[in-house]
Amino acid sequence: MKERFSIKFGGESGQGINTLGKFISKALKNLGYVTFAYREYPSIIKGGYASYQIDFSSQDILSSTKKCNLLTCISKDSITEYLPTVAKNGILLHSVDSFEFSKSDLEYLKKKSIKVVYINTSEITKSNNAPQIMGNVVMLGSIWKIFDIDLKILEKVIVEYFSRKKGIDIEAEKRCLRAGYEVEDIKNLQIVKFPNIKNRDWSKSKVLTGNEALALGAISAGCRAYYAYPMTPATSILEVLGNTYEKSGIVVKQAESEITAIQMVMGSMYMGTRAFTATSGGGFDLMTESISCSGMTEIPLVIVLGQRAGSGTGVPTWSGASDLNVALHSGHGEFPRCVLSASDAVDCYQLIQEAFNISEIYQIPVILLTEKHIAESIFNISKLPTVTKIERGIVKNGTKRYLITRNGISPRWLPESKNNTYLTNSDEHDEMGISTEEEIEIVNMSEKRLRKLNALIKNIPEPKYYGPKDPTVVFVGMGSTKNAVLDAMKQSKKRIGFLHYKYIFPLKYEKILEFSEKKVKIVLIENNQSGGFGKLIKQQSNFYISNTLNKFDGRPFFVDDILEYFK
């Protein structure tokens, strides 16, 4: 682990550890490091324990390590919970008054040579004439001293943040930060030497969660309305689009249910604007009748499905990727659809734009999969990719809304004054949209709709391969699995490759077969128990991937998980 360093903040939900994490992230980023931040938190408002882990490196990183080098805790429970995640020769910094370690904890500290430092933040804040809450900033000062970096860099970030808030004593914040930096006990703490930064100016780079990137992508794509019902981990899309609505002009509506949200999306898309909704598994289940309706009526539809762990309510604030089955198979009857899967913030930004284009050109529902680990983790991006050109496939006017064509795509023109009217029908219908029960018409229309998939697959890019030309092992996967494998490649001597799928359905599987012919070991990696992606590959290509790496404990793949696979 020479090339990367990891710091974890632990505390109760509601104690402000996210803000602490953001300050450190931003200051590190401004120094030129690439950061990746991962949050764990319980499905409660106050109490319990939550963490915010920042991994940083001089190279690109996209994932977290299991063990952290520096653990900073501001609550009792979080020390107990996260102590086992401190790596060998690591440091535990905490502010819990008269904390007593259990016998097993003491053994762990000794075994791993972990140094423990207690910072008496209440005394420090008191002597600096500051409120106790500023103890958090004292901790930041101490961390920065351990890193041995110029305090001005961190101070600038903190001052910038608090100057935007009302009623904050910024001078007191500065005093506390300085006091933390000057705590005697930390001055001689040895820490691994930080890697050098190679001429990189990342000061203008962006720090974005997957959901933030996705919301920005939607705005770029000309989306003008967002309708949603809150559900973790999709909720923060509502937050971003809501909080920026005055700048964007987008109509943001928190609907009374997921069914309302998706029907409003359909109504708006039918009229010819761009709208979408986002939800998680349970909410998506409620939307599925509308997905089928979109397939039949050929009204474009875009849904973001932010996956989390488990069936039922599951483990609501934890990550997983077990909803591909519903993305692929939800909705009654047979109709074409497209399923996309994002792996990181850049994907979120780009694929939501693609989703709008595909749904409008092919007049089909498009489901964009994300995961809690993508939606809420904080990625560091040097520059967002250029905007995708808007393609809509709309004609000015027409006569037969459901005209039978070779590629299955019928002319779609918008319901607008002076245009020819038509019936958009969820009953089986003829070319004019009029309900039908005739055998031939049913067959012709069903075939017309499914032909759109043949047209779509021709325009779908191949999966992207990362890795050496002559790999010995190639992982095949979608979603956030990519990030852990790519990070592991940098640390492993093995010739590891990764075949990354963003376009899940319709599926292009030829690349997998090519590796198989070359006798390369292929490993299916999935953040679920039963391997839904592998089943899709088998169904489409008749190729069965017998080597699998699955994880379904609510946690994403960490770099260590990949490295351990080879042990």
Binding site: K204, K206, V207, L208, E212, L216, I219, S220, A221, G222, R224, A225, Y227, T244, E246, K247, S248, G249, V251, K253, A255, E256, S257, I259, T260, Q263, M264, V265, M266, G267, S268, M269, Y270, M271, G272, T273, R274, A275, E289, S290, C293, T297, L384, V387, K389, I390, L414, P415, E416, S417, N419, T421, Y422, L423, T424, N425, S426, D427, I434, S435
Partner: protein, 283 residues
């Protein structure tokens, strides 16, 4: 260009029962639209599933026949996207009060500027006469020889309990009056809930045209909620007309702070929008 009823007629074969209230309801709707000088291409009609929904091909306009219970949220999405269009949701008592009652409730409190026609024939007719919450107690219904066990929903009482901006009641047996009511609903800037007492000679012959006619009493538009409440709760009479209207409640879109000075509609705005002014927050 002068519009007449032929512009709204279609040549699709009729599938309603003889004497069905839907004939007059369509007549009234077409009349209202013509009198308001709305061309079929100015109108979006969001139909539910059921006998009312089977009217989707019997009238001109941009018609959508979507999902059961969901005619209202679809119509709302259409309205928000393009307010140049007149948007009407057309739904039965089954879809409105059973499958999709949440949509009705929240649409009233949101006060979207659309009109909703609630066909109340007191049963699920297309699926051959199942119970709804407006079916008469004790009346033999599909699968329930002794009638329903549950209580009723009084549409007027429900709507009036939600601080609505417009509630009217019309009667399929009086299409001329109904046309005027629908006109008022379309003109009203806000959510216009119009209950239509509809005859169903096949599955609800007990409430015949004659019987209903004898109960009807037309009233003038009122802004007095107490009078309105008394009227909708009267068992003996069926008051028709604009039972309650409160024009002081602004419609949903007019209240959107970020759309105040924007002249264009959402359908006009689909282009690559710059995010640079937002992106600066994420540095």
């Amino acid at each position: 260009m002068k519009i007449d009823i032929f512009d709204y007629n279609t040549n699709v074969k009729n599938t309603w029962c003889p004497g069905c209230g839907n004939f007059n309801i369509h007549m009234a709707l077409k009349t209202a639209l013509i009198e308001l000088n709305r061309h079929p291409s100015d109108v979006v009609l969001s139909f539910d599933i059921g006998c009312n929904g089977n009217g989707g091909d019997k009238i001109e306009g941009f018609r959508v026949k979507g999902l059961h219970g969901r005619a209202i949220p679809f119509a709302v999405g259409a309205h928000i996207a393009n307010r140049r269009m007149t948007v009407i949701a057309d739904i039965g008592d089954g879809g409105c009060l059973h499958e999709g009652i949440d949509h009705l409730i929240h649409a009233i409190r949101s006060n979207y500027d659309i009109t909703v026609l609630i066909h109340n024939n007191e049963n699920f007719a297309l699926t051959t006469g199942q119970i709804t919450s407006t079916s008469d107690t004790g009346k033999r219904m599909y699968g329930f020889p002794n009638g329903k066990t549950e209580g009723d929903i009084n549409i007027g009482e429900l709507v009036l309990s939600l601080n609505p901006s417009f509630y009217a009641r019309g009667f399929s047996g009086d299409p001329i009056h109904l046309a005027q009511i629908i006109k008022s609903g379309i003109k009203h800037k806000g959510f216009s809930a119009i209950e239509i007492v509809q005859v169903c000679p096949t599955y609800n012959p007990e409430n015949s045209l004659e019987l209903l006619k004898s109960k009807i009493e037309k009233v003038e538009e009122s802004d007095d909620i107490e009078i309105a409440r008394k009227r909708v709760c009267d068992d003996k009479k069926l008051y028709t007309g604009v039972i309650y209207r409160n024009s002081s409640i602004k419609d949903y879109y007019s209240k959107l702070k970020n759309r105040q000075n924007i002249k264009s509609e959402l359908v006009d705005e689909v282009k690559n929008h710059s995010i640079s002014n937002i992106l600066s927050d994420f540095q």
